[in-house]
Amino acid sequence: MSEAQQAERTNDRAPNEEPASFLDVTVSQVVQEYPRPDGEGVQRILDGIDLELNAPTINMLLGPSGCGKSTLLRLLGGVRPIGVKSPTSGEVRIGGVPCNGPHDEAVMVFQRYANRPDLTVYENVAFPFRLKLWRARVPPAEQETRVQEMLEAVGLADKAELRPSQLSGGQNQRVALARALVLRPRILLMDEPFGALDAQTREEMQRLLIDLWKAQKCIVVFVTHDVTEALLLGDRVLVLSASPATIVDDFRIDEPRPRSDAWLMSTPVVQMKDRILQRLHGSKSHGQVRVSF
C-alpha cells in the first residue's frame, strides 16, 4: 500500500489493540455538492447536516428516494465518490479522528449484495480475509471460527458450499451481511439493504438483523425509504428532507425489539408515522416515500 492510500484510509487503532466497545461518529455542518449532469454549476445534495451517534444503536435514515441518504451514509466511513471533494465542507469524525474515506471500523452492506458469483457462500463470507489488512489482524484459525460462527448466525451453515446463483435474494443478502459482520465492525452502514426483497423476506431479514445486532452491538446506520421499516428497527429515526437534504426530524423510540404489529397500530405510533409523513411531504419533497404493512 502506498503512503497516499494509507493516508486515505482512516484507522484509529494499532493492529492488535482490543477495540473499544463503540466508537462515536460526529457529523458537523456537512455540505455535499455534486456538479450537475449537464455541467452547469453544482447541485447541493446535503445542506448542513449535524449528527451525533455516540452509542451502539440502530439509526434509521429515512427520506424520499434520491434525497441524499446514501451520500450521507457513504460519508460515515464508506467509500467516497470519485472526482468530487467529499464532503464539500464540514467534517466527519469517527472516534474523534477526522474521517476522509473508507474506515476500517465501518463496513457497508449494499442493496445489490456485491457477492462474488464464482465463490461459494463460505468463501464469500471469508472474502475480507483475502485482504492484507484483515489477514494481518485476524489469525487464520480465528478467521475460520468467525466465518463458521457467522454462517450459523445467519442460518446458512448448511449452504456453505453453494454459489450465490443457487441462493434466493434473501439468502444472498444474508451472505453479504455475514461478510460484513465477520469483521466485527463497530459501525455497520446499510444502504437500503432489504429494498429489493419481497415483503415476507424483508420481515425475516429485519428480525435477523435485530438478532445479529443483539449478539454483536455496534452503531448501525440504516438507509431506507420505508417508514414502517424505520419504525420497526430504529432506536432513532432521522428524517431527511428532499434534496438538498437537511435533518427535519429526529425521533427516539424506546419500544423493545422485535416490535409487534399491535405496537405499530397503536395510536402514538400511528401519530408518529403521520408526523413523519407530514415532515416528508411538508418539506419541499416531491420524492416517493413508501409505507408498507
Partner: protein, 263 residues
C-alpha cells in the same frame, strides 16, 4: 409462430444444419457431375476425397504429408497463442484497470485493430527473415490487436459495485482489482482468447505463405502453384476443421472453468 426467444428442439436444429450442408454438397455435386464447371476450377467431392486420402497417407514415401503439415501449423498456432495470452492478457488487464495506462496505450492499440495486418508481413520478413520467428510474430500481431482491447473492455464491463465493496472492506486498489474486478472479468477474457485463437487460424495460411517447408499454408500454396485444386480444397477444409475443434475445446474449457457464468 415465429419467436426469437423460443429455442428450437435439438432434433430440429440438427435437421436444419444438416439440410444446409446437404444443399451445398448437392449443388457442388451437380456442378461437377454435369461438367458445368471444369475440374481445374472446381474438383468433385470424389476427387477431393481421393486427394485427402493421398495426403493423409502416401504409400510410396511411407509418410503422411497432411499429418506433418497439421502438426507444424498446430505448433505455430500454439506457440503464438501462448505468447498472445502471456503478453496480451496482462496488458489488457492493466489497461482496463488503470485509466492512465489505457490513455497511454490505447492510441497504439486501438487503431491497429483495423490495420491491414497482412500488409505487415513483408516488413516482418525484412526485419526478422523468413524463419519461424517471423511466422510466430506475424500470428502474434494478428491476434493480439484483437485480444488486448477485448480484455480491456472485459475489465471495464465489471460493475463498479464490486470495486466499491472491496475498497470498503479495506482492499488496496490493487487488491480490489485482483480480488473483485479481475475474477468477474475472467469469462469475458476467456472469450477474448477464443477470438484471438480463431483469428490465428485465419492468418495461418498467410504466415506460412513465405518459405514454409511444412505447414497447411504451405501445402495449400504449393497445391495452388501446381493447379491441384483438389489439394487446395483439402487444405482449406482441414484448417476449418482444426479451427472448429479448437473453438469447441476452448468453449468447453470455458464452461468447465466458469460454470457460474451461465447460471
Amino acid at each position: 409462430m415465429w419467436n426469437p426467444y423460443d429455442p428450437l428442439p435439438a432434433r430440429q436444429r440438427r435437421a436444419y444444419g444438416f439440410a444446409s450442408v446437404a444443399l451445398v454438397l448437392g449443388v457442388w455435386t451437380v456442378l461437377t457431375a454435369g461438367s458445368l464447371v471444369p475440374p481445374s476450377k472446381l474438383p468433385s467431392i470424389v476427387q477431393c476425397g481421393a486427394a485427402f486420402a493421398r495426403l493423409a497417407w502416401d504409400p510410396e514415401r511411407g509418410e503422411s504429408l497432411l499429418l506433418q503439415a497439421t502438426t507444424w501449423s498446430l505448433l505455430r498456432v500454439f506457440v503464438a497463442s501462448v505468447l498472445v495470452v502471456a503478453i496480451g492478457v496482462p496488458m489488457g488487464i492493466l489497461m482496463g484497470a488503470e485509466p492512465r495506462i489505457n490513455a497511454f496505450l490505447s492510441p497504439l492499440v486501438d487503431p491497429l485493430r483495423s490495420a491491414p495486418v497482412v500488409a505487415i508481413l513483408p516488413i516482418l520478413v525484412m526485419w526478422l527473415g523468413i524463419g519461424e520467428t517471423m511466422k510466430i510474430v506475424f500470428l502474434f500481431i494478428g491476434a493480439v490487436v484483437f485480444l488486448v482491447p477485448m480484455v480491456r473492455d472485459a475489465m471495464q464491463a465489471v460493475s463498479q459495485q464490486h470495486w466499491i465493496a472491496a475498497r470498503d472492506l479495506g482492499a488496496t486498489p490493487w487488491e480490489a482489482v485482483r480480488h473483485a474486478v479481475y475474477p468477474m472479468a475472467k469469462p469475458r477474457i476467456m472469450d477474448a482468447i477464443i477470438v484471438a485463437v480463431s483469428v490465428m487460424w485465419t492468418y495461418i495460411t498467410v504466415a506460412e505463405y513465405v518459405n514454409a517447408d511444412r505447414g497447411l499454408g504451405q501445402l495449400i500454396s504449393i497445391a495452388r502453384r501446381q493447379s491441384a485444386m483438389d489439394k487446395v480444397f483439402v487444405g482449406i477444409g482441414v484448417i476449418i476443421a482444426l479451427a472448429l475443434v479448437t473453438y469447441s475445446l476452448m468453449r468447453a474449457l470455458k464452461r468447465a472453468l466458469y460454470p457460474w457464468e451461465s447460471e
